[in-house]
């Protein structure tokens, strides 16, 4: 019985651990910006580069374009 309770305790701990933890991967996405009604592809961006592009936009010929990195 003691062994059974140990097993139950172990299983409960494992499930609790799985329930409260999750790993966050370094996400990558295809990015683009809109210019004159058409999409200009920027290719796949990941991590800090992805964050920077979405936050600051993409500068081209003195104009900064809002960048979107998702399928929409």
């Amino acid at each position: 019985m003691k062994k059974q309770m140990k097993k139950i305790g172990f299983a409960a701990t494992a499930v609790l651990f799985l329930a409260v933890t999750s790993c966050k991967k370094d996400e990558c996405h295809e990015c683009h910006y809109d210019m004159n009604g058409s999409e200009v592809e920027l290719g796949e961006k990941c991590g800090n580069e992805l964050e920077e592009l979405e936050a600051s936009g993409y500068a081209s010929n003195g104009t900064t374009y809002d960048v979107h990195c998702h399928e929409h």
């Binding site: 139950i8 499930v15 799985l18 329930a19 409260v20 996400e27 992805l50 936050a55 979107h68 998702h70």
Partner: protein
Amino acid sequence: MKFILIIVFAFSAISLNSQILTGQILDSLDQTTIPFSKISILELDLHTIADENGKFSISAKLPLSYQLIVSAPSYESLRITVTNKENQIKIYLKQSHHEIEEVTISGPKGTLQRYNAVHIERMSLKDLNQIASTTLGEAVAKMPGVYNTSTGIGISKPVIRGMQGIRVVSMLNGLRIENQQWGGDHGAGITSLGIGSVEVIKGPASLLYGADALGGVIYYVDDSYAAQNSTEFGFSTQNESNTLGTTNQLSFKKSGDNIRFNLAASLSDHADYRLPDNRFAANSRFREHAIKSAFGWNRSKGVLNIRYTYNATNVGIPGHTHDAFIAEDKLKVTEQSREQRLPYQDFQNHYLSFDNKWFMKRGEVQLLLGQTINQLVEFEEKVTIPGIKMNLYNSLYHLKYKRNVNEKLSYKVGVQGMYQINQNDMIASEFLLPKSSMLDNGAYLIGFYKHKTWDLQAGVRYDQRVINTDEEFKGNSTFNETYEGLNFSAGAVRNKDKYTYRVNVSSGFRAPHISELLSNGFHHGTLRYEIGNLNLKSENATQIDVTFERNGDHLELVVNPFYNYIQNYTYINPIDSLIDALPVFVYEQLSDVQLYGVDFGFHFHPHFAHWLHVETSYSFIESQSSRQVSLMPQNRILSGLKFDVKDVLFFKSNKISIDYNYFFKQDNVSEIEAKSPFYQLVNIGVNTTCGKKENFDVNIGCKNLLNTTYIDHLSRLKNIGLESTGRNFYIKLSYNFSK
């Protein structure tokens, strides 16, 4: 070591002071013993199970006087008052074909429903899931007069007699759930993990629950602790064909003489749901996980319960489009996926409560302190920058004193309140609401009088809500306003022979929410630009609710008509304007709205065929106002046949359920709604139990057996023509072990 010794000493002292109540449960007709009855002490939230000879023993710190509730299958539940001078009792139960009647705790007086002057619907989650539900919202919508508004499967919230969102208060074991419920696309913030039963008060209930309890109250009650001096372990897995979804739950409970605890965890993951035409609703996927814990301690003159629940949900927002012309192939896709994609919501909830009761000579004092935290994040246009990110902190208190003046007369007096702070995270690209705070305080008095077959109850309550913003917001200066409410409830119930007659008049109020006052921005979840209105007044509602019940051996009947008069009804109205391709909506008020209808139910259990149960409920609601109110649910008939089937091989307690649900067409729609045609659904389920101790449950079945194509009137996907789920086969396996 010293610490351990102190604990050991403390536990010894507890056991030395405990009293032992022993007894036996017998049949009132032939004096035979009734095995395995459930004996509960209401005040202590404690129960035990009688042995095969009907004998039981409870060791506890017993109050001077307490209510003992005894229930057993095929017998009428019994409530008796016992004093702590009695240590040995014999209890006689009357045979009955009724299902076990349990105590309702959401009403003014925790007692068996037949003695409550307020009509409360109560159902155990097990009964609601005779045919398995995917979410808690879907399960609750099987109760009479209760519906479910949804955005796909992952986002849903309850609707009571046509009222929803901020007009419905949700409670978890006495703790108010605050989770940005004003938003039509924000879910209920609770999962089925560890929930034992659901109680619903339909209509205004501000006397007990304060501001916002205008449309009704959903009260979730946790599963009980393990029986005294026992250990329970449970595991269940539910798998569904439609969403390729799985829900897995694990629970562990242990109870000693005076200390008990519960632990539970769950994981749920669903891909896009399958439509009747075999395509899939794009981005309707969701996953959620939850943990729940409870700790109870019975002391010499009181009982303490500490509960903590955490849940987190990641849910795609289906039907999202900015296009003026909706391309169907973007909403209905041919490949099913469970990968996260824009737009989606991430929300997390923490619910913590300390609930302490002290027993006194002629009554009890109860103090509940709670803290809830809700974080809502919506990712809309960018994957690393949320569109909206808000944190809602809510601190609550409820202090009440109950005194029994004599055997007939008692009263309850209480103060209740909460302090709420809503903050925007600066990382978000949009701020729909300003940083704000809200302070609620209320005080109430309720009297109870019992005379022969009558139970009477009346009470009055005063509430004050103060709303403050700390900053200017999109052109509005700082806001500081106080709203007041004076509410009452009065009712009577009479139990005579097989009949129960009940009448109740109650009022409720709802101060305008900060979102209705000060919104000014895009709300992508609802696909609109929302503008608040600083001139809104508090909504006030008064309802009369009448119940007639017949509880015969073979026929149970409930007729429950109601009339609800609401003043200053707030609604959101489109104006002829677009901002960034989204329509602009503003908050306005109607001077009055009348809601009326009836909930009707019967349960026929013929004498010549005790293996057959015929159950039907009919919910009817109409509204009248100068302008049609939106989102009034479809009237409906939920009917079911249940067959008890004899044991087959090692399968026992076999039940087959067939549901036929008819939803009437909805023609009474507002200017911004489309009418909804009628639809009908057939569901089937088989439940059986096996194992030496009958501790292995198997539940299989199919929902929407005929693969009907339909869109419920309360679906938020109706306006874009995205249908509800197609046929869905499921299997649920549960294993429960106790020692």
